[in-house]
Amino acid sequence: MRIWSPTKYRFVVGIAALVSLSAMLGALLIGQISLSVVDVFTTLASFTDPQVERSVPFVVISEIRGPRIVAAFAIGAALAAAGAAYQNLFRNPLVSPDILGVSSGAALGAVLGIFLALPLIAIQGMALLGGLAAVAAIYWIGQRIRGHDPVLTLVLAGVVVGSLLASGIALTKYLADPYNQLPTITYWLLGSFAGISKHDLAMALPLMAAAFVVLFALRWRINLLALADDEARALGQNVERLRLLVIVAATLMTAASVAICGIVGWIGLVVPHAVRLLVGAEFSRLLPLSMLVGGTFMLVVDTIGRSIAQIEIPPGVLTAAIGTPVFIWLMAVTFRRST
C-alpha cells in the first residue's frame, strides 16, 4: 500500500472536520425537545447577546445539549489521542488508555469518593489523582526492574497493578451501601454524559488542552518511540525523558475524561488503530484525524444512546457493542494484509 499524499490527507481531514461539525449540529437538534435548524442558528447567532430572551432553545443549548456535546466530543478526541500516543509508545497497535492502569486508578479514586460521600468536585479530583497515582506507581516499578525490555515491563506492571486496583473497586462496592451508593458506583463505572455540567467542563477541558498541547508539540518526535530503544538513542534522542513526557500527557487526558464521565472503553483502542490503517503510523498525521474520528464517534454514540430508548443507554455499553465487531474485523484485515 502506498502512503497517502499530503493533498489527499488534507482533503480527508477537511471532510472529517465537516462531518464532525454536522454531527454536532445534528446532536443539537435531536432530543426530548426537538429543535429546528432555524432555532439553533438564531440562538447561536445571538448567543453572547445579554439581552436575549431566555427562550427554550437557548436553555436547551446552553445548559443541556451544548455542554454535553462539547464533553462527548472532547472526551472522544482525548481518548483517541491518548490511545494513539500509548500505541506508539508501547509499539503495539493493540494497547489502549487502560493499559497503564489509568482507568482503573481513576475509577478506584472516584468509587472511594462516592463511598466516602464526598462532594462531586472531590470525587472528580480523586479520580484524577487515582489515575495519575496508578501510572506513577507503574512507571516507578518499570524504573526499578532493570535488565528487561522496558516497554514489556511497563505493560506487565500495568496489567498486575490494574487487577489489584480492580479488586479494590470490588471491595469498595462490596462495602458500599446497597441502596444509595452501589447504584451510583455502578452507574458511574459504566460511564455517562448525562450529568456533565459546565463546571465539570471548566475543570476537565483545561487539563485536556494542556496535555494536547504537549502531544501536538511532540507530534513528530513521538515517532522515534516506535523505534527500538537503541535505535532512538543512537539518533541522539533521550528516550526516557520523551517517554515520560508522553505518558504524563496521555495519562492526564485519560484521567481528566474518566473524572467527568466515568469509564468509556474501546474508543482509545479502536479509533487510532483504524485511523493508522488508513493514514499510516506517522504521528503528526495520525493525531489530528484520530481526534476528529474519536470525537465524532463518541458524539454519535452518545446522541444515539440518549435518543433511541426511553432510558439512556450508557455510552460504554454502546462503544463496546460497536467496538467489538469493528475490532475483530480490523484484526482480520490487518492479519490478511500482513500475510
Binding site: 500500500m1 502506498r2 502512503i3 499524499s5 506508539n88 509499539r91 497497535p93 508539540a217 511532540l218 507530534r219 513528530w220 518526535r221 515517532n223 522515534l224 516506535a226 523505534l227 527500538a228 537503541d230 535505535e231 538513542r233 543512537a234 539518533l235 541522539g236 534522542q237 533521550n238 493508522r276 490503517l277 499510516g280 503510523a281 506517522e282 503528526s284 500482513s338
Partner: protein, 252 residues
C-alpha cells in the same frame, strides 16, 4: 585525523569484562570488519562505540574529540547506527523512516522541513531506493529494508556508519546488493564499520590495503590486522575454534 577511533578501549560490564585493549582508527573511505564467534562481544563493542553503554576503560574518539565531551545529538551527527534486522512495527512510509534520521538536527518540538526531506531523498538515491519513498516500510523485502536502514544512516549526514550484521538473514542476491552498496559508499568517502559472521563479507568490503579487520575471540582476545591476514585459514581456525582442515575447500 580519524573519523572514529578507540584507544585502549575495554568493553563489557563492571563485573564482567568482555574484551580489553581495543585500539583502532577508521578514516574517511576506510572500512573495518569485526569478526568473531557468537557472543564474543561484537554487538557490545558497537553499543559502547555508540555510547549506548559505558566504556569500562580507555577512550573513544570522534573526529579527534573524546566522546565523553559530546552530547548524544553531537554523536548522532557524526556516527550512525544500522541495527540488525530492523523490524517494521508500524506502517511508516520509507520516506518517513529515513527522515527520522534528521532528529539530531532538529529541536524537541521541531519537524523535518523541505530541506530535511531533500537530504532524505538524496540518501535514498545513494542506495538506489529513490523510487521507494512512499512505499510502506513493513512491506519491503529484507534486503530492501536493509538498504533503507543504510539510507537512514546516511540521512543523518554522519560520515561514519556502524552496521550490525548487515547481511544477517538475507538471501544470496540481497546479500550481494547490500555489500556492493557498502563498497560504493566507501568509495564516496564514508567510513564503514560492520560486524559479520561470514568472513567472505569482510573480504568483499574490506579488500583494500587501507582496510582492516578486527577479530574478537571467545575469550576476549582482540587482534587487528589486514583483512587478508585475518582471513588466513590458520587465523580463522583459531578464532572460531575449529580445525584448519575445514578450510581445505575455499570459503568464497
Amino acid at each position: 585525523m580519524s573519523l572514529l577511533g578507540a584507544d585502549n578501549l575495554g568493553i563489557g560490564y563492571p563485573r564482567r569484562r568482555i574484551a580489553s585493549s581495543i585500539s583502532f582508527a577508521v578514516e574517511s573511505g576506510q572500512a573495518l570488519a569485526v569478526l568473531g564467534p557468537n557472543g564474543c562481544g561484537k554487538t557490545t563493542l558497537f553499543r559502547t562505540l555508540l555510547c549506548l553503554m559505558p566504556a569500562q576503560e580507555g577512550s573513544i574518539l570522534i573526529g579527534g574529540a573524546c566522546i565523553n565531551t559530546m552530547s548524544p545529538a553531537d554523536i548522532a551527527r557524526q556516527i550512525a547506527y544500522v541495527p540488525q534486522n530492523a523490524a517494521g512495527f508500524f506502517n511508516f512510509s520509507v520516506m518517513e523512516v529515513v527522515t527520522m534520521a534528521r532528529a539530531p538536527h532538529l529541536g524537541w518540538f521541531g519537524a523535518p522541513g523541505p530541506r530535511d526531506r531533500e537530504i532524505a531523498m538524496g540518501a535514498l538515491s545513494q542506495v538506489s531506493m529513490a523510487d521507494f519513498g512512499d512505499r510502506e516500510f513493513s512491506e519491503l523485502s529484507g534486503g530492501e529494508r536493509q538498504l533503507v536502514m543504510i539510507a537512514r544512516a546516511l540521512a543523518s549526514q554522519a560520515k561514519c556508519l556502524l552496521l550490525d550484521e548487515p547481511t544477517a538473514s538475507l538471501d544470496f542476491g540481497n546479500r550481494l546488493m547490500v555489500l556492493d552498496t557498502l563498497v560504493a559508499l566507501k568509495s564516496r568517502g564514508v567510513a564503514i564499520l560492520f560486524t559479520t559472521h561470514a568472513p567472505e563479507n569482510a573480504r568483499r568490503v574490506c579488500g583494500n590495503d587501507a582496510d582492516r579487520t578486527l577479530t574478537i575471540s571467545r575469550h576476549g582476545a582482540v587482534t587487528i590486522s589486514s583483512t587478508a591476514a585475518a582471513l588466513q585459514p590458520k587465523a580463522l581456525a583459531a578464532l572460531y575454534g575449529i580445525h584448519e582442515r575445514v578450510f581445505a575447500q575455499p570459503v568464497a
